[in-house]
Symmetry: C3
Subunit: 349 residues, 3 copies
């Protein structure tokens, strides 16, 4: 699954090796010599890949997985398909994270482990005609930049990143593990492609789940100053064509934003949301994870979205609700505050 432009695998690993590093037991009859080349989510895994399932919620997906092997609890083991090797353990997510870490120990790096940077501009980088690379920029191995683009002073472009034509990268921007379209503008200090925030609890503290996805910026996207867009965990974080993002916005891993959205300053999106086209979010809005925000939804400034929202409607408040209802709540509360005042003045509070 992991894009080889950004990730070097140390694999393959045998099931025997994996069982040992992840403290998982192979089901009887499994061939411990079977080689695993990669990690993948249950629904996308294929031959040579290992996945995991730690909850009956995904039972249906587990029963259809085409992975070569899968970490499961003993309870879920009977549901693993006949031709898939079950690795039984108490903490499938932790076992999976440990395996991914062994396969991709340098997942967050801006350069291949074998090529630590010596020059600011890597010799394998390809830079299009008419593109300006300002002094102080760092451009990694295998980077490709289109024509008439600009890379600002001190910008850092990690290995394998692709940047389209006429895209302008501001000063001090850092981009890694990402594909950037044409005619984008990325303002100063924006952070694109760093690790998502994912951990699994373990006896020795929070165990980091390797983040092996990418960030995709389609054409005509604008990203504000000091905004952060994390790359996906196993999937990609995607910003659709023409979407404009203001300063100091947080976009967590695996979010998928549609086309022509407007995301105002200091919005925070936790992760794995599906934001459809033409969505507008006012300043300081927060969005919980794994939600669907329908086409054309507008969320008023400072709203806190805790549930999926229906297309075409306007929401506000926290938890976010239809804007008219929110306004009535605000009005009710205001009346109560005034009623309370009378009480206070009467000495009853």
């Amino acid at each position: 699954m992991a894009d080889p432009r950004f990730y070097d695998s140390t694999g393959p690993l045998s099931l025997a090796q994996i069982g040992q590093l992840a403290s998982a037991a192979l089901v009887t009859g499994a061939d411990p010599g079977t080689l695993i080349h990669d990690v993948a989510p249950l629904d996308r895994a294929t031959a040579g890949q290992i996945s995991f399932c730690d909850t009956p919620r995904f039972l249906g997906t587990l029963q259809k997985t085409q992975a070569s092997a899968v970490f499961v609890t003993s309870k879920l083991a009977p549901s693993v398909p006949q031709n898939v090797v079950a690795l039984v353990c108490d903490r499938p997510t932790l076992a999976f994270a440990k395996t991914a870490t062994r396969l991709y120990p340098d997942a967050g790096s801006l350069w291949p482990a074998s090529q630590p940077p010596v020059l600011a501009i890597a010799p394998t980088a390809r830079i299009g005609a008419g593109t300006i690379v300002a002094p102080g920029a760092f451009i990694g191995e295998g980077v490709e930049i289109g024509e008439r683009a600009v890379v600002g002073p001190g910008a850092v472009i990690g290995r394998g990143v692709q940047i389209g034509h006429a895209t302008r990268i501001g000063p001090h921007v850092s981009i890694s593990h990402a594909l950037i379209g044409d005619n984008c503008i990325v303002h100063a200090g924006a952070r694109i492609g760093q690790d998502g925030f994912g951990y699994v609890n373990s006896a020795s503290g929070h165990f980091k789940i390797p983040q092996l996805g990418r960030v995709i910026l389609q054409d005509h996207v604008e990203v504000g100053a000091n905004t952060a867009i994390d790359r996906g965990a196993l999937a990609d974080t995607v910003i659709g064509e023409g979407t404009k993002i203001d300063n100091l916005v947080q976009i967590g891993h695996n979010n998928h934003l549609g086309r022509h959205c407007i995301i105002v300053s200091q919005v925070g999106m936790s992760g794995s949301c599906d934001i459809e086209d033409f969505v507008v979010m006012g300043g300081q809005v927060g969005v919980a994870d794994h939600l669907k925000i329908g086409k054309g939804v507008q969320v008023a400034a400072r709203g806190g979205v805790t549930r999926s929202l229906e297309a075409g409607k306007v929401y506000g408040g926290f938890p976010a609700k239809p804007v008219e209802q929110w306004r009535r709540e605000v009005a009710s509360l205001s009346r109560m505050g005034k009623a309370g005042k009378t009480k206070t003045e009467a000495g009853n509070d």
Copy 2:
């Protein structure tokens, strides 16, 4: 209007050219050869400049404009003064934005189009006695820095920026389109002068409105780490003398902050507000656009300001209201939560 230290005009353009690029029709009798040199807002435009009006709200200003030409809807066309050329179109703001884009195609650039940067320190930069420029700093064409100042490692100063005496610019700060006073402190990663967040809807998506103003920091201003201060659209963003701004604050375009304000971390101000002297905003406060915040106002942490606020008072809550009223609302809601508890315990909820 656009300060030539920061912006190069490709103009002038004839009214004929403008009509064509902006899909606007010149009123009968207008001379298509009239030259337009610049764009400006209705109330400040003078001879050789073009402006726009798309709402009857500004009818009074339209009737007194001294622009040479103005984009208007057909409905507003009769209100254009006799000696001003009306360019009639459906979307005056879009037409204006297209014209401004044609006149200033490089509005966001840190260098003149004719002088892409080759050296980290431009030969035309003037740096005062006793000023330290750390390794890795980038200083653009025509920059002027006073005496006894510090420019930190990797800081980026765009063309034409002026920085006063004894001002300290931290590492990785980027400054463009800005005039910075004496004795200021700008902490690491602060972003000063990038594009404001302004678009006008069009058939092909959000059309970017060129941002042609500046940022002015008066003397003794402090700007926190990773804070963003956008430059004005047609006017300036101004931070008054002695005002202190904490980390991760967002100050949108055209805001005007008075003297000796205190703006705590993660505050967000959308744009075009008039914040008077000695205003204090607690952490995570949000302020909607086009508001007036009177002298000495204090807004408690996390308040959301949606209306103009009277001088000398303390506000809190969202929407922000007098702090006593907010406290009563909080107390009322708390009582309801407790009443609700009794119900729940009685099995009625």
Copy 3:
């Protein structure tokens, strides 16, 4: 008190000099030639140090202070111990801040005043075996970095900073006045060690209180992109072992976070809080100053913490309260909004 790896004192100063610069009067009988070498808080000051007390709240501490001298108001002067020199003035905090400024005029600097940076990598820096320092990094005087660490492109490490083994510093990170443990990850654009946000009012505006503490990151800490962690004022800001901090978080001066905490994106902590082990804060949470958050507390996203919180419990809302109570409040308000709807429909609103 101030760590000499980061701060150069211009002292000592005599009490006569201090009395004059701070506009404070020495009590009768004090020796104006007594030398003061440093500033310190009341409870930690020892011989040769000066402190301050401006409120009867700290009377008990004042009566036991072992400072050589202390700024106090005339009202508090009689409570100063016999062997401690009282310097009487109207504004003890201001007097203290002025003295600290005179002693440490370069408190915020990344280099000693006597050694302005000429090279990107200072000759006195010591870098461990197997550590990669990418092009464009800046490493100050006396920095020590362990083995197998990474310093990303353009990262800036100020004088005297210590970084442990196998710690990875991302691109454009700035670190100063800090001690960083082993196996930490600091993501792009994080700001560690800049001035805390502290001022004292004066006739000429907000007077900056020199920040003379440090930031301590224990082992296995992760800091997200564009997050800011200010150094302490007189004490340290501490992040405990294994604690993970997401992007765009603000951690103000003197906060002490325990081990294995999880701090999600855009959280803001004002200052001087004691956050115990295993605390979890959801996205956009805000925390007021000087609070104690007990072990294992969880605060739901967007909560606003205004009081100390009891260990082991889950809180939400603003002001933060036990999560069940918050949910009941939300439900009550929602019912009111619906009741309000009926009213509105009946034309009564």
